[in-house]
């Protein structure tokens, strides 16, 4: 991977929030700016979750093994946009009214799902360092990070439960998530199957090194 690529991708990942700020300063957020910010940060969260989940299949399919070095950044951007999304709710929708939020979480299933999706991302963000991987051990770390599937599913359900009638967009996210999970199920079965060719030693080592 060329050296400049990662910083460029990093900046590109900031484009959605930069665009919000720019539009905010230039009256470009429409009649209901708060709603626009809420929807846009929510979309970004789901998008980055799905991008994160696409990295390892893409890496295997294209044999571009360096792609893995971008995965943590994408995951952290999902957390970043999720935090912004939650902030719009806590601040601009509920104005820090804790009681009202607790009622919401208990009573409104789309809030329950959204909150679940966010809470599940917290341990992933906290253990995203190399130090954590060493401390936890690769296997346990990997098991913990499977939470991303549940977070993604909760996020998609959150979206499905909140729309009034037009399910098109939430179902687009759901189908991408479905494909990504299905890929793993199939890949898992194939690698365990008796006919599946064993990974060569060098390939296996590289895999360990890069995962």
């Amino acid at each position: 991977m060329p050296r400049w690529l990662k910083p460029v991708i990093f900046l590109a990942c900031l484009a959605p929030v930069a665009s919000l700020v720019w539009k905010g300063l230039h009256a470009g957020l429409g009649a209901n700016p708060i709603e626009k910010i809420t929807h846009s940060t929510g979309d970004c969260t789901l998008t980055f979750l799905l991008i994160t989940l696409s990295v390892s299949p893409l890496r295997k399919l294209t044999r571009q093994y360096w792609l893995i070095s971008l995965r943590r950044m994408f995951g952290l951007f999902a957390f970043f946009y999720g935090t912004l999304h939650l902030t719009t709710y806590v601040w601009l929708d509920k104005f820090f009214d804790v009681h009202e939020m607790l009622v919401d979480i208990a009573k409104r299933r789309f809030i329950t799902a959204g909150m679940t999706a966010f809470v599940l991302m917290i341990p992933l963000a906290l253990t995203s360092t190399k130090w954590s991987i060493r401390k936890l051990g690769g296997k346990r770390w990997q098991a913990l990070h499977r939470l991303i599937y549940f977070s993604g599913a909760a996020g998609v359900i959150h979206y499905i439960w909140l729309v009034k009638a037009d399910l098109k967009k939430p179902l687009e996210y759901a189908s991408v998530l479905g494909v990504l999970i299905l890929y793993r199920v199939i890949a898992g079965i194939a690698s365990r199957g008796p006919q599946a060719p064993k990974a060569s030693t060098s390939e296996g080592l590289r895999k360990v090194a890069q995962d």
């Binding site: 929030v17 930069a18 905010g24 009649a31 708060i34 709603e35 299933r109 789309f110 439960w161």
Partner: protein
């Protein structure tokens, strides 16, 4: 009922443009303060060009109405670029773009059902039936936002009286045009088309219920329901059917579109009620477009003094 003083300034000039633009800047600036670090990226091409208002024809001889509120009117640009009009698009800014070429003339409205004589009226005949009034109403969407709009029209009962309903007429049903060629949203099945809404006869006869063909002193813009719609200010916005082609008087309660779509969420009455939540969100508060803080939602959207008596003895929790 409060008789409010009339103002001589055309309503379209009440909120100056630069004032509400400043308000936007403040709002959005505050909302994004935490991430100001990213502002360094000047992404001019990402800013969508702001849509200019469609300047319609001025309506002459509009009378002021004692039913009008003195609350600050929502800017024209907001009311014309933030629409729930699923016949065109489920995006709020979609109808303004997609309804530009919508044909509103010639336009006939069929009057049938329990009437002495079925008829088909030209929309321009209907508009001339009574004196046009400006009615500045609060408008509360079931989604939790609200606007204040200076509608132009006259009481729906003016049309109903001329339609001569029979004694069997207990309800009125309103049907929006079905024309997928012009309304791209109707090619999908997000809702049952055509859109149908209904009122009980006494609700429809109430002087607040408006037959509307204009706003801000001009013809109704296409994305706001041209050429003719109803406005029922004490009910959630979806009750106020747009682009009406049929008014049918019925013995039985009509099935309204949103009720068909999700009966546990949208009832027939759909009166604005802060105490009865939508199953998925609270109705206690609302965001008035242009305001930072949410405001409490009022029973019957603040029109309780006028309309509460229509519902005496009714359980509004059951008849939501």
């Amino acid at each position: 009922m409060l008789i409010k003083k009339a103002t001589d300034i055309p309503s379209s000039e009440i909120t100056p443009k630069n004032l509400y633009l400043n308000r936007r800047k403040f709002l959005a600036g505050a909302a994004t303060a935490g991430v100001a670090a990213a502002t360094g990226l000047a992404l001019r091409e990402m800013v969508s060009p702001s849509i200019t208002a469609l300047a319609g024809n001025k309506i002459d001889g509009i009378q002021k109405s004692p039913f009008s509120t003195t609350e600050t009117i929502t800017p024209y640009n907001d009311v014309t670029n933030y629409n729930n009009y699923y016949e065109f698009s489920t995006d709020k800014d979609g109808p303004a773009k997609l309804a530009k070429k919508f044909r509103t003339r010639p336009w006939k409205v069929k009057i049938d059902g329990q009437v002495q004589k079925k008829q088909e009226l030209d929309v321009d005949t209907i508009i001339k039936m009574a004196t046009a009034e400006e009615r500045i109403y609060r408008h509360r969407c079931v989604e939790g936002w609200s606007i204040v709009v200076p509608w132009v029209g006259f009481s729906l009962n003016e049309l109903i009286k001329r339609a001569n309903p029979t004694s069997k007429a207990k309800f009125v049903e309103f049907t929006t045009i079905y024309d997928p060629g012009q309304m791209p949203g109707q090619t999908g099945s997000v809702l049952n088309w055509p859109y149908v809404e209904g009122l009980r006869m006494d609700e429809a006869m109430h002087p607040l219920a408006l037959l509307c063909f204009g706003m801000y002193g001009e013809d109704l813009p296409n994305q706001d329901g041209a050429p003719i719609r109803i406005v029922v200010p004490w009910k959630y916005g979806f009750k106020s059917a747009k682009a009406i082609v049929r008014v049918r008087f019925t013995e039985k309660q009509p099935l309204n579109t949103w009720n068909i779509s999700a009966p546990q969420e949208y009832g027939f009455y759909s009166n604005v009620n802060p105490n009865v939540d939508h199953p998925r969100w609270s109705q206690a508060k609302e965001r008035r477009l242009g305001e930072f803080y949410k405001r409490p939602t009022l029973m019957f959207n603040g029109y309780g003094d006028q309309v509460a008596n229509l519902y005496t003895g009714m359980d509004l929790r059951k008849n939501f």
